[in-house]
Symmetry: C2
Subunit: 251 residues, 2 copies
Amino acid sequence: MSKKPRESAAEGESEFLASYDPSKYERFSVAVDVVLVAAFEGDLSTLLVPRDEHPFKGQHALPGGFLRKDETLEEAATRVLRSKANLTGVFLEQLYTFGEPGRDPRTRVISVAYYALVDEARFRAAGERAVRTGRIRVPWEGETGGPVKVVDEKGRALPLAFDHADIVGMAVKRLRGKLDYAPVGFQLLGETFTLLELQRVHETVLGRPVNKDSFRRRMLASGQLEATGRAQSGVDHRPAELYRFARRSAV
Amino acid sequence: MSKKPRESAAEGESEFLASYDPSKYERFSVAVDVVLVAAFEGDLSTLLVPRDEHPFKGQHALPGGFLRKDETLEEAATRVLRSKANLTGVFLEQLYTFGEPGRDPRTRVISVAYYALVDEARFRAAGERAVRTGRIRVPWEGETGGPVKVVDEKGRALPLAFDHADIVGMAVKRLRGKLDYAPVGFQLLGETFTLLELQRVHETVLGRPVNKDSFRRRMLASGQLEATGRAQSGVDHRPAELYRFARRSAV
DNA sequence: TTGACTTCGATACATACGGCATATATGTAT
DNA sequence: ATACATATATGCCGTATGTATCGAAGTCAA
């Protein structure tokens, strides 16, 4: 607490303990971009918006919007989901903040990225609006977290605008990391599901097969599953039991 | 791609596919706050700056600064560490972005939080400047991620300015989560260390004792450790082998 | 009705790993 | 030299996961 004189002020840094008034400083555009993820048919899918203006005209971007004055970041992300995908009440979590000076050629934009998880039905409904969906092809081998390849229904590459490929890559990485300690797989399924369906979702996210019996045992032992007593229908083999996510009610 | 008319525009949202020019939108102050963490004497410690002006005068804040026009977020965090703690070359990673409208009573500030890890020696050197250090007391039981209690050397509570207690809590939570799958414990130690020292660091971060033998086996089997061949000195018992972090050179 | 077929779901067993106890090694202090 | 403290190695055991096998429960076709 003694007021020692500052020795050799580090490289002209002068705001050390200085009073700073936020309004004096540079101000930035703040955007929120959302990676809406679904898992079906063995692939991850994400919602994209085609850009019909410069920059990155003809490419695709993540749904996003600029932060408004009186809303929280999460409210902005919720608003983006509602306005661009007609979705409400979905799992939503902050992902990472991207702020490279050159990421938007027009002006500097700080983008707070969120990711959201929905089941196949809600994803398809959201995709029926004027937006476009893209399949995320993630390299199974090697590190994930860098840019990923996003393709359309026919497998053609969909180049992403800005640094959105990095954002998608980061979303996949985060999702994989959370899968085995957070109840996140359920978010990608409907109200009820069979154990095999849950397994397929996990395999899709992880990008590798998982052992069936171990997976079943682990899930049943986790206490997160609740048997409905009802069985699958419409299959030409023995129907599986339908489960639902146990919302911490029991136990 | 067909230009369908928008059906029942969701609640007056009008920026759907609309051209948006970032410069038209609200602009915000963007700050970077850094949780500088060290682990010694059984506690986590973090660097704090006493505030001598309103708001939160008399309380303590995390070292931080406002983002400048041409620097990246990480560069800003690096600059904060250099200018306020005289530290360079430390482990630094983005933590979370806090943007509640009321978090700074003066004006709205979006804060991108980072956390940095240093060993005891560098932390003490940083703490000898005009800044203050606080011990992080984290409740061992229950959830972590919310606000934590930060105390001074004498155990008195140090109230934190703004939402900085939440930021510290989030840093602890992140650190715990990363501990067993990322080589993050080494960042909290010096160049060489004994296995017991590494164990103490893990215990401090996790807030619970870990099994000695299992820990030793796991660490040695991880391939992240490299024996130096030298032994501890200055202890009045059998000295332990000194290890260093293996930087992916071998294997 | 019956049998082939498919998937579900249970059981048994081998293996890997962490928690735990104990024994031995290797240094310092007296 | 002896006592002592800690490091380090080894074995045991309970638990969780990987793997193989088998009966159960449906559909479908003859």
